[in-house]
Structures are given as structure tokens and as C-alpha cells.
Amino acid sequence: MFMTGATPATGWARSLGGSTGAGSGVEMIGEPMSRSQFLAALIVVGALGALVVARVQSGAEAGAGSDQEAAAEAASEPKPITGGEQAAVGATPPAPQTTTLVVAEPPPILEDKPALTDLDGWLQTEATSLDDFSGQVRIVEFWTFGCFNCKNRLPYTQEIYRRWQPEGLEIIAVHAPEFDYEKDPEAVAAAAADLGVVWPIALDTNKTNFRAWQGSRRFWPRTYVLDQEGRVRYDHIGEGDYDGLETTVAQLITNGP
């Protein structure tokens, strides 16, 4: 059933149509590559790869440098925001990433997002709609409890929540399950308790809102910030940029939309 077109010989040479030696019955060009030649080729390719990486690295760092300069130029009226104690929830909360956040221009107004629809219910709140939180700055985070990177975000989000919830911040965790075992609302509630997720959870079991908000680029986790008027002011994929998130929240709460 399976045909290779050549009798067994040295792997790469066979794959490239090299001679398989006497009795192969196929006229081919070139000698088989020996293992030492293969290893030598591997080393050469590795060295070239390292050169490419080094080259891209230097280019990327140059780009990052210019970005930082641009950000520094854009910053105006620095506004210190004092960090505080460790997070109240979470097993090993991180130390606050910064104690001073520089607030520059107001966060940009991004593309509007639709209302949350076709939900399977809410947990840890009396709310039934995103509009129930209107007037507040809201972090809307798409997550699922089995997602490794979503869990990695939690200590940072918990710290931001601890600092800014008394000032009017609300977090809405939109739970969009990736796998079957994440669809059970009781499992979501148990995981939330276990992970220290104390804010409202919207159950997006069919992933209707996950698709509607994220379009063709859909990831877990994805974090948005809505201002007091419901406009999207921040959009971030994956872990990281916790300073950017807190700066946006601080800016909106302190200075308004």
C-alpha cells in the first residue's frame, strides 16, 4: 500500500532522491549524505539561524528604542499613582509592577463592540447585562478557566481590581469555554472560587460574544477596557502589558472619559 520509490538508505539522501546504492533500480544523481555530513549541515544551518536571530534582534531593539522615545515625547503632565499592598486574593500575588505610572494622552477610542448577547447567564452578580454597569470603567476579559495564560493574568488583574474597584472599576469576565469540560456553569463557579475570581462572570457558553467581539483574530485571554460611556479604550491579546492596562484604568477613572 505504501510506496517510497526507493529502498532504505540514508534518510535525507533518500528523501532528496539520492542514490540508494546498488540494486535500487533507480538512476539518480549524487551520493547519499552521510551522517557526519548531515550533522555538519545541521551545524551550518544552526549558525546561520543564530545569525538571523541576532540580526532580527538588533533590528527589533532599534525599533523598540524608537518606540520608547516616541512614547517619552508623547507623555505630558506626568501623574504619579501610588502602588499599595499585595493583592488580597490569589495564591502568590506578584509585586506591583510599578509604583509610579506615567499618564500621557487619553487612551484612544477604538472600534465599538456589540452588547453581550446569547449569554448562558451570569455568576457572582445580580446584573443581567453589560449596561447594568454603565457609568463605570469596565475591564471586559475573555477567558476560560482551563487556559494557562488566563490564569497567569489573574494575580495582576486581582491587584488592579483591589486598587481600583473602590474608585469605580468593575471587571466583567466573559467565560468562553474552549473545551467541553469548561462548559458546565458549576465547574466555572468552582474554578472561579478556586482561582480567586471575585468579579462578575458572564457565561458565553456558545462563544457568540467571543466571536462577535474578536472577529477573525480570536484568542484567550483578550482584555478590553470600556470607559464610562461604553466606548472601547484598550484592547490587548494575551498576557502582559499590565502597566498599560492599569494606566488606562487610572486615566479613565481619574480624568473621566
Binding site: T4, G5, A9, R14, G59, F179, G238, E239, G240, D241
Partner: protein
């Protein structure tokens, strides 16, 4: 953005269940291609890179499950049908098709470095493609090891193992294709995830 942390995060992602949807079909292609494992896996990686870049940078490439299933089935047929005896020729298109299809089904783990890249990808030009390639070197590193092992294993052992490997690889590709065509790919990926976590 820094390249080495991105590469490191790629290596880390290779150990996570979310990369199985790339690694399983990639390994299946490599095993089924037998003597042509290296060009097959290289083509698979290029397919993954190309379609991932298109998708994640919003340049296109968002295909329906049916198209993905057809691509997977075509790759399976190219590698398995006895009429196509030149595996060294069939391996490249089969790898490209399977790689592109796997990229369509891939829902990556998004750490801080890869997240930063994804956030910037729509606005980056070819540098974004290069950085994605660096991340994928890490993510697909088990396939590179597989290709190298295939070359380094003694021929007499290869002779005995290759037929069985082809059956396993071909069956895996065909099953993934069938599951995708029937709309069960999410469940299949979920099962892969659960099994890997259990293991």
C-alpha cells in the same frame, strides 16, 4: 520587541497542550512521508507559518472547516495513495496543505511575548513574519527533533518501523480530516488536550 524571550516562549509552548493541534498533524505528516520526512516537515512548518501569519495579521486566510478538511484529506491522499509513488515529490505539497490546515485549527497559548507580537502583527510588515517564524521554531521544535531522529536512526531499524509509522500517521491525518469535515474538530482538539493533561 525582544527575539530571544519570544523564542523561549515558543519552546515553552511546545510543551503545552494548545500546541498539540500543530504537533500531532506535523508528526503524522513526518511519519507518513517516511524517507521524505525532512522535506515534509519543513513544508509543514512553512504552511503553518504562512497561514498563521495571514490569519493573525488580518490579511486573510480564515477558511471554513470544510476547506480545511479538504486540505487535510488532500495531504493524506498525496502521502498514502499508492499511485503517487514519488514521496519525495508528494511530501512538499502534502506538508504545505497539512501545515496550512493545522494553522487554521490552531488556537495558540498567548503568553506575554507572543501576545505582544499578536498585538503588533497587523501593523508590522515582513518583520512580523520573521518574528512569527522565530516563535514557531520553538513551538515546532519537537517536529525538528523528529526529522533529525528520522535521519539518525539506523537504517535497519527504520526499515522495520516505517510501515507501522505510516499507518499511524496516515490514520491520524485521515481522522483529523474527517473530524474537521463533520464539525467535530473542536471536540477532537479538546480530547487531545484532556489526554495530554491526564498524561
Amino acid at each position: 520587541m525582544s527575539v530571544f524571550p519570544l523564542l523561549a516562549e515558543g519552546f515553552e509552548s511546545a510543551l503545552m497542550a494548545c500546541s498539540l493541534i500543530l504537533l500531532v498533524p506535523g508528526a503524522a505528516v513526518g511519519l507518513t512521508a517516511r524517507a521524505a520526512a525532512i522535506p515534509a516537515i519543513a513544508s509543514f512548518a512553512i504552511g503553518v507559518l504562512g497561514l498563521s501569519w495571514l490569519r493573525f495579521s488580518e490579511r486573510g486566510g480564515d477558511f471554513s472547516p470544510l476547506v480545511i478538511a479538504v486540505a487535510l484529506m488532500a495531504a493524506t491522499i498525496l502521502l498514502l495513495v499508492p499511485l503517487i509513488s514519488r514521496l519525495d515529490v508528494a511530501a512538499v505539497p502534502a506538508g504545505l496543505l497539512a501545515g496550512g490546515a493545522a494553522a487554521e485549527l490552531w488556537r495558540p497559548c498567548v503568553g506575554a511575548e507572543f501576545g505582544q507580537l499578536l498585538n503588533e502583527l497587523p501593523d508590522r510588515g515582513l518583520s512580523g513574519l520573521g518574528l512569527l517564524a522565530i516563535y514557531l521554531v520553538g513551538t515546532l521544535s519537537p517536529l525538528i527533533v523528529l526529522a533529525a531522529l528520522h535521519h539518525l536512526v539506523p537504517d535497519r531499524i527504520l526499515e522495520k518501523l516505517e510501515p507501522a509509522w505510516s499507518v499511524v500517521g496516515g490514520t491520524a491525518l485521515a481522522l483529523l480530516s474527517l473530524a474537521t469535515a463533520l464539525g467535530f474538530h473542536d471536540e477532537l482538539v479538546g480530547k487531545l488536550f484532556e489526554w495530554s493533561v491526564a498524561v
